[in-house]
């Protein structure tokens, strides 16, 4: 909503308050002022001129040599390129030395040999948006009315030396969608009275009801319909001040009739519509719901199909307007219009909202109806428009109004205890103070002891419950005056849940290990949605996605991480390590909501470690990532539950992937991205993991318990075992541990050899076995005994021979 500071002064005295002050006050107490615009800011030396003569430039077809009286002793010669310039016009002249928007300075010039001492301006050139310039001047220079005083300041005549306050209206403040509404708000804030316009005019003996009838079928959707008849109007431009005010409010002037309906809409917030009475043909208004298949051509020359829930104004036979949204072309006011039927109505907001949405049409009228208009102003606005039509369109207003009116206009009665106001705000206001605030708002209120009775005016449809009154009190009294306290109550200690603590630990460990935290989108495209998924199933899809790219909820985090990896690779960042924690979304039969499963995923590529001058270089590989996972599980206290097995996952390298088990449940994978996928995504060798966290989060690990530091020496035995290539090291380790008994404290792989010194299809794995008894010094025989068991077991279970 754009509010002209000058116009606002018609209704409330603003003396002593600058536009900036006013904006600040309104922002602090009521409605955010998002900006203040001074349309002709910095424009100087533009005056009204009289074009005395206008002749074609001998050297240039499109230029005219004009002699213009600018109120000085001598007329000035100005070369003008506008097609619509002509002798006798009153125009806006930027004199030599003038400044136009954008700090454009006017200097003496010569155009094709002819002197030009100034510029005849279009409205755009002095700072008015093109879409607001009246159509007849849109392509050329502007003309003032013939009585405009030559030499006077043109900016002032156009009322551009104004400040336009842009109000950011929240949906509850429909009352401020009018100048009068803003005046009430302003009056309350600065504690000054509001002056309402008066609608005096003389009406004819002939009654409107002699000429037209009004019938409303759809009473729910249309509780009030008023019609007035104005005859013998003269269509022409509206007065300059009215046009200027419309422009200031962001509405383009058309002609006096249309401008007046728009002017009253801005003034009262009540939409009006003027029909050409003669084109209405039937002299009858019937408001009803549209019939199936009915159509209407609207003012924007579009034929629109109507649905049975659309409210239409008809002439009893066919639709002549989509109620509250847009008029029909068949009854539009034109230059030839003589008699007008003026509509002022109250349409139900839900009906208008639906209709305007269906047609994709939002107008000044529909946006007001959608939020609810003041039923009392339906008639006030009609009378105000009638007055202006009489004044500025020479109309003869027929006496009376033809009306259908079944709207309850009584004020809502609210009661609130002073104690409640103070309790909710944490203040100690007195009854008189509260009553005074309502007086400033021009809301009737009285008190009985500490009970306050408020009669909510119809213009304030947002005042419904006690809390609404508390808000009025708080905002007007000033939020600055609310003290600062902290809640006084029995508090339980705050904190993170176990799951939240574990999530933070995961971040800490992975970041400590060198991975950067990434955050990616949950929505992805059809093909990515199913990739790398631990649970392969149909993804959750959006009903109406904005694009195919964001149409499915992810089943895995890895695809988005890989997208981020390629994004970086394309930008010369080639050693990348990411992790992300977040939900994947699993559709579940019989459940309304999908299961949101929290996962952690990671991706690494390029050099893992590089220390060039000391010759250290380590490529990111499977074991780097696995080692990180190992320490993660260790820190989470679940290492003893975790097992890796050779894995076989979609989109991963079949020979370089491990499935991760938590006891018997598969919870994740770690492996290399399948080379064909790497190629598709423009990746170099990249390793990824993804782990479901539910089991990890749920696991209640054993409490930490100190174990005595051993006092007796341990004995280490190294063995190199030759096995078939297919035998997994992890399996050997398991066998060794099982056979080693209680004396075997640790088993560590320290060498893998698969080179040409080995028999075809064999490999050698060397382990270091550490034996110890915490209660005494081991004797050699015991170790030999345990070690023999180990050797026997690996031979029997894995066919392992000691390497000779």
């Amino acid at each position: 909503m754009f509010v002209s500071y000058k116009w606002l002064q018609d209704y409330v005295d603003l003396s002593g308050i600058t536009p900036e002050d006013l904006a600040e006050k309104i922002t602090r107490s009521g409605i955010e002022v998002e900006g203040i615009e001074v349309p002709a800011e910095g424009v100087e030396n533009v005056v009204i001129g009289h074009v005395l003569s206008c002749e074609k430039h001998p050297e240039a077809d499109k230029l005219n040599i004009c002699l213009v009286d600018v109120g000085e002793e001598e007329p000035v010669q100005i070369i003008c390129g506008a097609a619509n310039v002509g002798a006798g016009q009153k125009v806006a002249v930027a004199k030599v030395g003038a400044v136009l928007p954008g700090n454009f300075k006017i200097k003496k010039a010569k155009l094709r040999g002819e002197a030009s001492n100034g510029m005849i301006c279009s409205l755009q050139e002095i700072g008015i948006e093109g879409k607001l310039v009246p159509k007849e001047f849109a392509e050329g220079i502007f003309n003032f009315p013939q009585d405009a005083p030559v030499g006077e300041d043109a900016i002032e005549a156009l009322m551009l030396n104004d400040s336009i306050l842009e109000l950011g209206l929240t949906p509850n403040r429909a009352d401020a969608m009018s100048l009068i509404g803003v005046a009430y708000e302003t009056g309350a804030i600065i504690d000054r009275p509001v002056k309402l316009p008066e609608s005096d005019y003389t009406s004819t003996v002939e009654k409107a009801s002699d000429v037209i009838t009004v019938e409303v079928e759809a009473k729910q959707e249309n509780p009030i319909y008023l019609a007035k008849v104005i005859k013998n109007i003269k269509i022409g431009p509206s007065p300059q001040w009215m046009q200027s005010r419309l422009i200031a409010a962001g509405i383009r002037p058309h002609n006096n009739v249309v401008d007046i309906t728009n002017y009253v809409l801005l003034e009262y917030g009540q939409p009006l519509h003027a029909f050409d009475l003669d084109r209405l043909k039937t002299n009858k208004i019937l408001v009803r719901l549209a019939k199936p298949g009915e159509k209407i051509e609207t003012l924007d020359d579009t034929v629109r199909e109507l649905l049975p829930h659309h409210l239409v104004i008809t002439n009893g036979e066919e639709p002549v307007a989509i109620a509250g949204v847009m008029g029909g072309a068949n009854t539009e006011v034109t230059g030839a219009t003589v008699n007008v039927l003026l509509e002022s109505a109250y349409f139900a907001s839900s009906s208008i909202r639906q209709t305007s949405k269906d047609h994709g049409l939002r107008s000044e009228a529909s946006s007001r109806y959608e939020k609810g208009v003041d039923p009392i102003r339906v008639e006030l606005a009609a009378e105000r428009a009638a007055q202006l039509l009489a004044l500025y369109a020479d109309g003869e207003v027929l006496s009376g109004t033809v009306a259908f009116d079944e709207q309850d206009k009584s004020e809502k009665q609210l009661t609130i205890e002073l104690e409640k106001i103070n309790r909710v705000l944490g203040m100690s206001l007195k009854t008189e103070e509260v009553l005074d605030l309502f007086r400033r708002l021009q809301i009737n209120a009285h008190a009985d002891g500490e009970t306050i009775y408020v009669s909510a005016p119809t213009r304030r449809g947002d005042l419904v419950i006690e809390e609404d009154l508390i808000e009025e009190v708080a905002r007007l009294y000033g939020y600055d005056h609310i003290p600062m306290t902290l809640p006084v109550h029995e508090t339980n200690p705050g904190g993170l849940s176990v799951r939240q603590q574990k999530r933070r630990l995961i971040r800490q460990v992975l970041e400590g290990a060198g991975l950067m935290q990434a955050v990616t989108y949950s929505l992805t495209n059809d093909s990515k949605a199913g990739e790398f998924a631990l649970d392969v199933r149909e993804p959750v899809k959006l009903m109406m996605p904005m694009s195919e790219e964001r149409s499915n909820l992810r089943l895995s985090i890895v695809p988005q991480l890989l997208e981020s990896v390629s994004y970086n690779l394309a930008r010369q960042q080639d050693s990348i390590a990411f992790y992300e924690t977040g939900s994947v979304f699993l559709k579940e039969e019989g459940h309304e909501l999908p299961k949101e499963d929290e996962h952690v995923a990671g991706a690494i590529t390029g050099l893992w470690h590089f220390h060039a001058w000391q010759g250290e270089k380590k490529q990111a590989d499977f074991y780097v990532l696995k080692g990180i996972l190992d320490s993660l599980f260790e820190r989470l206290g679940v290492a003893s539950c975790i097992r890796y097995e050779k894995g076989n996952e979609n989109d991963l390298h079949p020979g370089r992937t491990a499935a991760i088990y938590f006891n018997d449940e598969k919870i994740g994978y770690v492996g290399q991205v399948h080379p064909s996928k790497e190629k598709e995504l423009d990746l170099k060798e990249t390793y990824v993991f993804e782990v479901k966290l539910e089991a990890v989060y749920a696991y209640g690990q054993a409490p930490l318990q100190y174990t005595a530091i051993p006092r007796y020496p341990s004995i280490t035995r190294d063995i190199a075992l030759v096995v078939d290539r297919e035998v997994q090291g992890g399996e050997l380790e398991r066998i060794i541990k099982e056979a080693g008994g209680s004396l075997l404290k640790s088993v560590k792989l320290f060498d893998l050899y698969e080179g040409d010194k080995m028999e075809e299809g064999k490999k050698s794995l060397a382990f270091s076995l550490n034996y110890m008894d915490p209660s005494r010094t081991l004797i050699d025989e015991e170790v030999v005994k345990a070690h023999d068991k180990v050797l026997k077991a690996v031979k029997e279970e894995a066919g392992a021979d000691l390497r000779g």
């Binding site: 922002t27 602090r28 009521g30 955010e32 839900s350 909202r353 939020k371 309790r423 909710v424 705000l425 944490g426 203040m427 809390e467 808000e471 708080a474 905002r475 939020y479 600055d480 609310i482 003290p483 600062m484 306290t485 902290l486 809640p487 006084v488 109550h489 029995e490 508090t491 339980n492 705050g494 904190g495 849940s497 939240q500 971040r507 970041e511 400590g512 290990a513 060198g514 950067m516 935290q517 990434a518 955050v519 989108y521 949950s522 959750v540 959006l542 009903m543 904005m546 964001r550 970086n568 930008r571 960042q573 992790y579 309304e592 909501l593 949101e596 893992w608 590089f610 220390h611 250290e616």
Partner: protein, 347 residues
């Protein structure tokens, strides 16, 4: 004889002095103190002395021997120190060369902001609550005083999955669910962070996915002054002790009264600059007193209970804190962006 001994002492001292290495010094030791050395030689001639002179001369010989031993030892210490010094010199390295890099990751800046806010409120007795990102229309809208047909819940603004299921448009449904779980009994004191989704085209200031963090306190006698005091603590901790806050009226369907909170602009100190659009204030968050309809729908008696709620966008907070100019940076995960947030902030 006496003279001979004195002379030996003098000679030995001279040679010790001239020794440039431990080896030379050892030669001196052997030459003067060895079994075949001159002092032993001298003592062999003691038999010729009188019985009175003999012990005197013996004492003198021992004195000389001790003196020579002493200078040798002293010299030895000096030479050893020199040798070590020399060795250390030879071992010296160029300490200005780069160290072996240790790879570390970092929090995403949004996580840093969220954790900072979480920790601040945890210290004030709040718990962290989470909820589903795919939500029922009821919790996302209806339970928050946004009945069907309410203009603020236009279908065009949300990602629906079915008529009744959508991607949550704010984290407020977590508040509704948590209140419901409390079965009408206070206090509720929670912070709800999480991802939310809206139908916006991604550009410098819009993102179809973003973070939100909300707070809710419900109990008997919760006042608007408590909200103001709490927000003041938050603003000062988060943005600096010298920042002021102000509340302005606003509108949210789930709070009444509703306000927006601004903090004084750090850049210009309140005088007005481009960051604060000349106002001296920067909008940080929306807040208000929980609407009685919201309390009632969650099973709280609105005559007995009141509450406040506030909500903000970590993206915006991080933008203000770090001067980030494009919201898309948060989701493209450019290493050159993420690595800028490795330094831990303390306050």
């Amino acid at each position: 004889m006496e003279e001979r001994l004195k002379q030996l002492q003098f000679e030995a001292a001279e040679r010790v002095n001239l020794s440039g290495s431990l080896k030379e010094l050892n030669e001196v030791r052997v030459a003067y103190l060895g079994k075949k050395g001159p002092i032993t030689e001298v003592l062999k001639g003691m038999g010729k002395l009188s019985a009175e002179e003999r012990p005197k001369m013996g004492a003198l010989a021992n004195e000389v021997r001790d003196a020579i031993t002493k200078v040798i030892e002293e010299k030895q210490l000096t030479l050893e120190a020199e040798a070590i010094e020399k060795k250390l010199q030879e071992e010296s390295i160029d300490v200005t060369l780069p160290g072996r890099p240790v790879r570390t990751g970092t929090h995403h800046p949004l996580t840093s902001v969220i954790e900072e806010i979480e920790d601040l409120f945890i210290s004030m007795g709040y718990k962290i609550e989470e909820g589903p990102e795919v939500e029922k229309d009821y919790y996302n809208f209806e339970a928050l005083n946004l009945p069907k047909g309410h203009p603020a819940r236009d279908m065009q603004d949300s990602f629906y999955i079915t008529e009744d299921i959508l991607l949550r448009t704010h984290t407020s449904p977590v508040q509704a669910r948590t209140m419901e779980r409390h079965q009408g009994k206070g206090p509720v004191k929670i912070i709800c962070p999480g991802k939310v989704y809206r139908r916006d085209n991604d550009d410098a200031t819009h993102s179809h996915q973003f973070m939100q963090i909300e707070g809710l306190v419900v109990d008997e006698n919760i006042r608007m002054s408590d909200l103001k005091g709490t927000l003041n603590v938050f603003a000062k901790k988060m943005f600096g002790e010298d920042r002021e806050i102000r509340l302005r009226p606003s509108f949210f369907p789930f709070t009444e009264p509703s306000v927006e909170m601004d903090i004084s602009c750090k850049i210009c100190g309140g005088k007005g600059c481009s960051v604060c659009k000349g106002t001296g204030w920067i909008e940080i968050l929306g807040a208000g007193m929980v609407h009685p309809n919201v309390l009632e729908m969650a099973g709280f008696d609105s005559k007995k209970y009141t509450g406040f709620a506030f909500g903000m966008g970590p993206e915006r907070i991080a933008m203000l804190k770090y001067g980030i100019d494009d919201i898309r940076h948060y989701y493209t995960n450019d290493h050159r962006f993420l690595t800028q947030f490795g330094q831990k902030e303390f306050n």
